[in-house]
């Protein structure tokens, strides 16, 4: 109620009421001195506000505007591109996302390197065959272990490997294996092409399987060390070149890339569980 009265009071003082309402309100003011005082005060404010209409003359000229606009080479922007941007923006965003996805997940898998782990060798004798066409480039890193040597400890310590290109031995601590191994997702991605390759090499392996029984022991009894030595690895490589086929063993093969894993600081490794029909090579 008060609000309505105050609204009318302001409306009357500032001349916003229509004629009929103004007359009614004016009549009510005769009985209400407080409101009448308020109206008088507001009307004086209205008069003072009206006097603010006088302002100093403007000195801004047309020439200044001309220099401000044309001097800077400004032009009215074209309306045609406004809707085009709306269409273009989602497409551009999608492209960026797709590119980001490819960059994040599309790690190259060139020059995979296979090494044998002690468990594999301890189960049965291992002979590794490198297909001849793979020997030139990339040069594989291989390691092997004699089938007669069962002196590996239960917990593997070190796997020795030899890089054929530099002929320098390299090694990785197998304790890091859990970290090096990536998620099952990555493993599944890398397993499929490897198995396909295995299939293509299957016949060659079968043909050479006879000679594996006679393959020589590649390392000569380094039982205390629990690992193949660099020299042994080098000998192993030479033996492998004699084209021994891969035996069928239920052991683990680790594929190691040359690319470094930024999280671990070691080369990226991938574990392949099923080694049946595996031909190891570059």
């Amino acid at each position: 109620m008060f609000e309505k009265k105050e609204d009318k009071l302001f409306g009357y003082a500032f001349g916003d009421l229509d004629e009929q309402d103004a007359q009614v309100f004016e009549a009510s003011l005769l009985k209400d001195e407080v409101s009448a005082e308020e109206v008088k005060f507001l009307q004086s404010i209205k008069g003072d506000l009206a006097s603010f209409r006088d302002i100093p003359e403007m000195q801004y000229s047309k020439e200044r505007l001309r220099s401000a606009i044309l001097g800077q080479g400004l032009k009215p922007s074209r309306p045609g591109f406004a809707w085009f941007n709306w269409v273009l923006a989602p497409g551009a965003a999608a492209c960026v996302v797709a590119l980001g996805y490819v960059l994040m997940n599309g790690t190259s898998r060139k020059d995979p390197t296979l090494i044998g782990v002690p468990e594999m060798a301890s189960n049965s004798g291992v002979g590794i065959k490198l297909p001849e066409q793979k020997l030139t480039k990339p040069e594989p890193i291989v390691a092997t272990k004699s089938e007669s040597d069962n002196s590996f400890p239960d917990i593997p310590s070190t796997v020795w490997a030899s890089d054929a290109s530099t002929d320098k031995p390299t090694y990785r601590m197998t304790e890091k294996r859990d970290k090096v191994f990536r998620t099952a997702d990555r493993r599944s991605r890398t397993k499929a092409p490897l198995l396909a390759m295995m299939e293509s090499k299957k016949s060659a392996v079968e043909m050479a399987s006879e000679s594996v029984k006679t393959s020589a022991s590649l390392t000569g009894g380094n039982g205390g060390g629990g690992a193949t030595s660099p020299g042994a690895a080098s000998i192993a490589r030479d033996s492998v070149l004699k084209a021994e086929p891969l035996p069928s063993v239920d052991a683990t093969i680790i594929m190691i890339d040359k690319d470094q894993d930024s999280g671990v600081g070691a080369p990226v490794a991938t574990e392949v569980n099923d080694t049946k029909n595996v031909v190891i090579g570059g």
Binding site: L49, M58, Y60, L65, I69
Partner: protein, 205 residues
């Protein structure tokens, strides 16, 4: 014969009026005719300047706003839709600019006042009246100007548009983008705020 002449004269006059209308000038300016835009500037610069001056109460600042408003209008001519009056659209630009300027100006004024230790009060209130005027009235006006400048930006806009520039509620509603009822309500709130601010100022004096 005479009737025919009269009709053709009327048609020519109408065509001329159409050619000089804000809408046709805007159309020409959009196509790169800067002279047409200068005609618009000549026509509406006082309107823009008056509003800007009442909002910032400094001539230099008001002229800066005028320039910026017309530059923005020129650059955004394609956004102007013919359904609204050009002056309404222009006032909307000026209103936004004044809001921006007020945000920066508050900071700057505080700094200046701090440096001058209050000596700038007479300048910021913008009294340029004849000093022989009635002292009482002058005192009231100074207090009123202080109260207006102390109002929040949106209230000050309402007081300027309705009570100083005496614009119609429908025009205010167009500038604000609201209904006429909404414009009336905003003006009422602004007047209340002004009354609440000026009462203690007059009491102090």
């Amino acid at each position: 014969m005479i009737r025919g002449l009269t009709m053709s004269l009327k048609a020519a006059t109408t065509a001329r009026l159409d050619l000089d209308s804000d809408e046709s000038l805007v159309k020409r300016a959009r196509e790169g005719d800067f002279d047409a835009f200068e005609v618009l500037f000549d026509r509406h610069r006082l309107l823009v300047y008056r509003f800007a001056y009442q909002m910032v109460n400094k001539r230099d600042d008001a002229e800066d706003i005028v320039q910026e408003a017309f530059v923005r209008a020129y650059q955004n001519l394609h956004r102007y839709r013919d359904e609204a009056k050009f002056t309404t659209w222009l006032l909307r630009i000026v209103s936004n600019l004044c809001t921006d300027q007020a945000r920066m100006g508050t900071r700057r004024n505080n700094l200046e006042q701090k440096e001058a230790k209050g000596a700038l009060d007479w300048m910021t209130t913008g009294s340029f009246e004849n000093p022989i005027e009635n002292l009482e009235q002058d005192r009231r006006r100074v207090a009123l100007r202080k109260a207006i400048m102390a109002l929040p930006e949106h209230h000050r806009q309402m007081i300027v548009m309705r009570d100083i520039e005496e614009r119609e509620y429908s025009e205010i509603a167009e500038v604000l983008g609201c209904t006429v009822g909404g414009a009336k309500l905003r003006v009422l709130r602004a007047r209340r705020a002004l009354r609440d601010r000026i009462t203690p100022l007059l009491g102090e004096d």
